[in-house]
């Protein structure tokens, strides 16, 4: 047991070797003056900048603003995508009415709508939330519909023969069967969510991490620009890890998620 534990910790540690080495080399090259401060500040400088912004409260305010936009956009876009995905997966009629239209809209890159969105909503919250919602809609919609469609027809027939009601059939057969595919959509959507937010906040915002980076650029504060990038990366990683945890918890029956 303890040997197993130690091996596990070791495996956990190995994945950190490379990032730590890169940062160490980066710090070293900065310290000896090989990388000019104006091009890329040292890791220590970035951490220091982060610490100062943290103390002034600016960092947390901006992170909260960005986080809020991301979540609201995800809930709205993801919610609509999930509902339509369910409807079009379960009902052929609904699919006939909606699907080809949605597939057409899908071919518009949602970031191409930024000028239009600024015209509609200005640069207030609605604009960013709208863009995030549109961005996350499609991966969730498509994967939900695909998941429902691919539920094993034999299991559905089994449900019928055992007298399951339509509601039971949905909760006990269709939804759990579609869940692996829905999670694929969710994790894909999370990536799009941050990407959309980064672009939207750098172009049209007066708060948020992206805005913080753009402002720092005007004053040539390279350390804060780099800090913003690092924070985006960390938030992205955090969201993905949470989604993985949720996936693991919900799909513990799935052979791919079974330990040992």
């Amino acid at each position: 047991m303890s040997a197993k534990r130690a091996a596990f910790d070791l495996k956990n540690l190995t994945q950190w070797i490379l990032p730590v080495a890169i940062i160490a080399i980066w710090q070293l090259l900065s310290s000896v003056g090989f990388i000019p401060e104006r091009v890329l500040p040292s890791p220590a400088a970035v951490v220091l900048a982060g610490w100062k912004l943290l103390l002034s409260g600016e960092l947390l305010t901006n992170m909260w603003v960005s986080f809020r936009r991301a979540i609201i956009g995800l809930v709205i876009g993801g919610g609509i995508g999930f509902s339509l995905g369910l409807a079009n997966g379960l009902s052929r009629r609904s699919e006939r009415v909606l699907d080809s239209t949605l597939q057409m809209v899908r071919n518009i890159p949602h970031l191409a709508m930024i000028p239009l969105v600024i015209l509609w909503f200005g640069i207030d919250e609605t604009a960013k939330i709208f863009l995030v919602a549109v961005g996350v809609f499609f991966p969730i919609y498509i994967n939900t519909q695909h998941g429902i469609r691919n539920v094993d027809a034999q299991l559905v027939e089994m449900g019928h023969t055992y007298g399951m009601t339509p509601a039971e059939l949905f909760w006990r057969v269709y939804l759990p069967g579609a869940l692996p595919s829905i999670f694929v959509g969710l994790r894909y959507a999370l990536g799009i969510m941050w990407l959309t937010l980064i672009v939207a906040e750098t172009i049209a915002a007066s708060s948020g991490i992206g805005y913080m980076a753009m402002q720092a650029r005007e004053f040539l504060l390279v350390d804060i620009v780099v800090l913003s990038i690092v924070i985006y990366a960390l938030l992205g990683k955090l969201a993905d890890s949470l989604a993985r945890l949720l996936e693991r918890a919900c799909l513990s029956w799935h052979p791919a998620f079974q330990r040992n």
Partner: protein, 272 residues
């Protein structure tokens, strides 16, 4: 662990027909027809099944065995003729009295073994003793200690036993099997055959077994029906005492007779 074979011991006394309650329902089939487009699969089947009888249905691949079973359990509608189960309306199937088991176990991968068995309670799932009955049935098939596990970690034979307890838990009066042992290895097959015979003897349901294995049909059934060209071409009573020895002379003789019937028709089919 994976292919562990647990051969249940047969309690011989329970196999005497007199010792068991007749819970099964009789089935009458009259001129039953089923076509898929121009393809006439069943062309007017006529037969009767007594309450609690064990019937095996054999025939060449594609002769319509599965089709017949699907009609009798209410998964498809006949294109002509009728059948009647017990005192029910013609062509009506009472979902809680009639259960079916397929070659694939069809377990919900996201439900525990026990939860899968509880699916079988059907309309009785809210009854207070449902859980206890599910546990009893699992014990019956020797899988009580695996009740909390996911189906994916079970072997093929164990999965089929879970599917069997799911079919049994509502105490059905007709149980239809479509090649339930078709995907199992020879040893597991034999132990499953004994288990089937035993639960049938205990519970007295009417059993309809579709199988490719003529020896299996002869060892288990009271009567073997051979389907050929959409009709019953042979209706053979098997009057051997139970439990029957697979490979014994009596079994082999009847097996040979059924095979000759199938082979004769097969040759006729090839010539046509």
């Amino acid at each position: 662990m994976n292919t562990r074979v647990e051969i249940p011991s047969i309690q011989r006394e329970t196999l005497k027909p007199a010792a068991r309650p007749i819970a099964g329902l009789p089935i009458q089939v009259e001129g039953l027809k089923k076509s898929f487009g121009d393809n006439e699969v069943l062309r007017g089947l006529e037969f009767e099944i007594n309450a609690g009888e064990f019937i095996a249905i054999v025939g060449r691949s594609g002769c319509g065995k599965s089709t017949l079973l699907r009609l009798l359990v209410g998964l498809d509608a006949a294109t002509g003729g009728s059948f009647r189960i017990g005192d029910d309306e013609p062509n009506a199937v009472d979902r809680d009295q009639v259960r079916v088991m397929f070659q694939e176990p069809r377990l919900l991968p996201w439900a525990s073994v026990l939860a899968n068995v509880e699916v079988g309670l059907g309309a009785q799932r809210r009854s207070p003793d449902g859980r206890r009955r599910a546990l009893d049935t699992l014990q019956r098939v020797g899988l009580l200690e695996r009740r909390a596990e996911w189906p994916s970690v079970l072997s093929g034979g164990q999965k089929q036993r879970v599917a069997l307890s799911r079919a049994l838990v509502s105490r059905p009066r007709v149980l239809a099997f479509d090649e339930p042992l078709g995907a199992l290895d020879a040893l597991t097959r034999i132990s499953m055959q004994r288990l089937l015979e035993q639960v049938w003897a205990d519970q007295g349901f009417t059993a309809l077994l579709v199988t490719h294995d003529v020896a299996e049909a002869v060892t288990l059934a009271d009567r073997v029906l051979v389907i050929e060209d959409g009709r019953i071409s042979l209706d053979l009573r098997i009057d051997l005492p139970r439990p029957r020895e697979r490979g014994s002379a009596d079994v082999a003789a009847l097996e040979g007779r059924i095979l000759r019937e199938l082979f004769k028709n097969a040759r006729a089919g090839d010539d046509a």
